[in-house]
Symmetry: C2
Subunit: 402 residues, 2 copies
């Protein structure tokens, strides 16, 4: 059942945070070595035949242009082909998707998908720099907040969703992230903390927004039929969906759903031959608290308009019916664009293998274990949505079922 | 024989040149409509299930970041997945490669690979802007010329290659380009013209260097086994190779070959089950005249060191043993990074179908026909090399043989 042509046999990431002390090269190398070292039965780096690099806003060497050799040349793999992918917030997950297509094509047996992002030490190339230079839209405040806040307002208006519902998402994810040693934030917060945090763009307070975070993450993929060479517990790619929507906010038909997510999820479920009820655990794109609530609905975890009730009833907590963002999500772990989707794959890999306690060797196993969800049907779902006009989404379904 | 999982069933490009009057959106739409319109038996745009967009130095909307929705949302295909690829000079050909992998994976039946580049109306994000801001390397003159000129010097020293040999490449490609209605330049030149053109970086004169050119190109690809739905004359992807080298010039072992090209060519020939002697026509990366001479050797069209003699004997002319760059190549047609590789595929598509005369409907058929090569074995080879440290290469082999 499911696509299952490609297997994940290794994952690695670095502790997310404000990594002013680490170069992009260093972050790439650290994530790569972590992924290589995670392969149960071992792997030689030279067994990797091709690579895909995800990074959305590269600042490496002061250039505005970064190609694949930034990865291959940095990790001792000069020689192999390496494609650089850029695709807004789903940059990491689309990088993973293209690596999957590469393996499924039959051309490559073992490949690497790695993403990184330096979000903190921006050059003048960033959005704020462009705004300062007088960019016609940016100087008037077109930011991620002004794209997502209207969705929150409309969702509140149509479905009675409240600021408390949104705050509950932030509280849940902070609680989960406190048990994820890779998370940018490690502190729990309360609903009052969220509601009393500074207003950024009504109705989104500061703690409704994900932080600006540096990070890197990597996965080793191979043909499913050779996965046993690397591990006895592979995780398979059961389905991968990707879709777009009209790229400008003013063209959208709905402000309470992300059409790209709905389309991508439909593709992924169909490829996997399952439905939302089969998902044991999900890592979804909570760039803002309202985004996670809308995702619940778009991904089929509840009916349209019921997202607020789903978090209120605790159904998306670690012990709930459908645990969402055990890693802490973007709200807690952070959102380094090129790394985010691939780090979500790593979390699902550990969750499906019931290895959150060890989490690749970082952190206190007893603390880490608190975020391990119960695995039943054996399926995990990964999701990103974003890009210009919130018009781009990737949904990937991983499974431990052969 | 050969990989042949993927077929090209439509190609389109726009006239290359200084397109200050056309927006990136316009160029994308024009190339897309041209490719859609070229499909012999017709195709509905909605039959396209996924897309890949290649652009290396995007300036669209003043942003330094461009995702796939820039393509899908612009051509009435909002909904389908679209990956943005960036990979230095091989950006276009790697975009095509990823589209091929997508089809071969079995996930998509019909896809679009489109590349564009605005090289002329740069924002401040360009290399010169960074140099002006005091970039430590760029302000000291690290440019494409300073990476390629030393290769020319060493090739002259080791193999007796002369400035006249290089000039002959420029002369041949200008002659070919004069018969390509899409080419930036349309005038023939002489060896003396080249030798007397201004010195840019010894031994490269101005006419040894490709121009800065805007352009866009697109291809429609599908599963080989459904190609007959779209045309009775599909062109198949017989092999696609890609490789890298160490990414810094000072690390290189040789200054007379591009190791990435040698590796990529080996992969492509092996997949196609052929050798250099089977190639009827090649479109190769002549960013500088010396590059084409080195490519002859790296691609196996002659022995190492014999590149100068090959052009001198006229073997790479339209009527020669192995015609190279009938389109005029980068030296004449121009090199809009995201478009170049895909435009090369279009030229090979026409050449292998023996349709250079019509050239997609542009130009004078009698003039166009002068660049039609004789097709024997039925194979064409596409090649790009570049990126940081000339460390990235793609080689694609197309064939009309089922």
């Amino acid at each position: 059942m499911g696509w299952n042509k490609v297997a994940v046999v290794g994952v690695g990431l670095i502790k997310f945070g404000e990594l002013f002390d680490k170069s992009a090269d260093f972050m790439i190398q650290e994530a790569f070595l972590s992924a290589i070292g995670s392969v149960d039965k071992g792997i030689e780096p030279r067994e990797v035949q091709a690579a895909w690099l995800g990074v959305c806003r590269p600042t490496l060497h002061g250039f505005g242009s970064v190609g694949g050799v930034t990865l291959s040349g940095n990790v001792g793999l000069a020689g192999i082909p390496c494609t650089r992918v850029e695709n807004g917030c789903p940059t990491g997950s689309d990088t993973f998707r293209n690596a999957c297509l590469g393996v499924a094509s039959g051309v490559y047996d073992v490949v690497l998908a790695l993403g990184y992002e330096k979000m903190r030490d921006n050059t003048t190339l960033g959005l704020l720099g462009l705004a300062a230079q007088g960019h016609p839209v940016l100087q008037r405040g077109e930011t991620a907040m002004t794209m997502f806040a209207p969705q929150a307002v409309r969702h509140m208006h149509e479905f009675g969703t409240t600021k408390e519902h949104m705050a509950m998402v932030a509280v849940k994810n902070r609680r989960n992230g406190a048990c994820d040693p890779y998370s940018h934030y490690q502190q729990e917060i309360t609903v009052d903390d969220v509601l009393n945090s500074p207003m950024v763009c009504w109705p989104l307070n500061l703690f409704d927004c994900c932080p600006q975070t540096d990070g890197a993450a990597a996965t080793i993929l191979c043909r499913a039929d050779i996965a046993e060479r690397f591990t006895d517990k592979p995780v398979y790619v059961a389905g991968v969906g990707m879709a777009t929507d009209v790229p400008y906010v003013h063209e959208k038909e709905s402000f309470t759903e992300f059409v790209a997510t709905v389309r991508a999820a439909r593709q992924a479920y169909e490829m996997a031959g399952i439905g939302p009820r089969d998902i044991d655990v999900a890592e979804v794109h909570d760039c803002f608290s309202i985004t996670e609530i809308i995702n619940y609905e778009d991904l089929g975890f509840c009916e349209k308009g019921e997202g607020g009730r789903l978090i209120e009833k605790g159904e998306t907590g670690i012990d709930g019916r459908i645990p969402v963002n055990p890693s802490g999500g973007l709200l807690t772990k952070g959102h380094p664009l090129g790394a985010t989707g691939i780090a979500q794959m790593a979390e699902l890999y550990w969750q499906l293998r019931e290895e959150a306690a060890s989490s690749g060797g970082l952190g206190d196993p007893k603390v880490n274990a608190r975020r391990q969800v119960k695995i039943g049907r054996g399926y995990g779902l990964q999701h990103n949505v974003g890009g210009r006009g919130i018009s781009n989404s990737v949904v990937t379904i991983l499974t431990r079922n052969p």
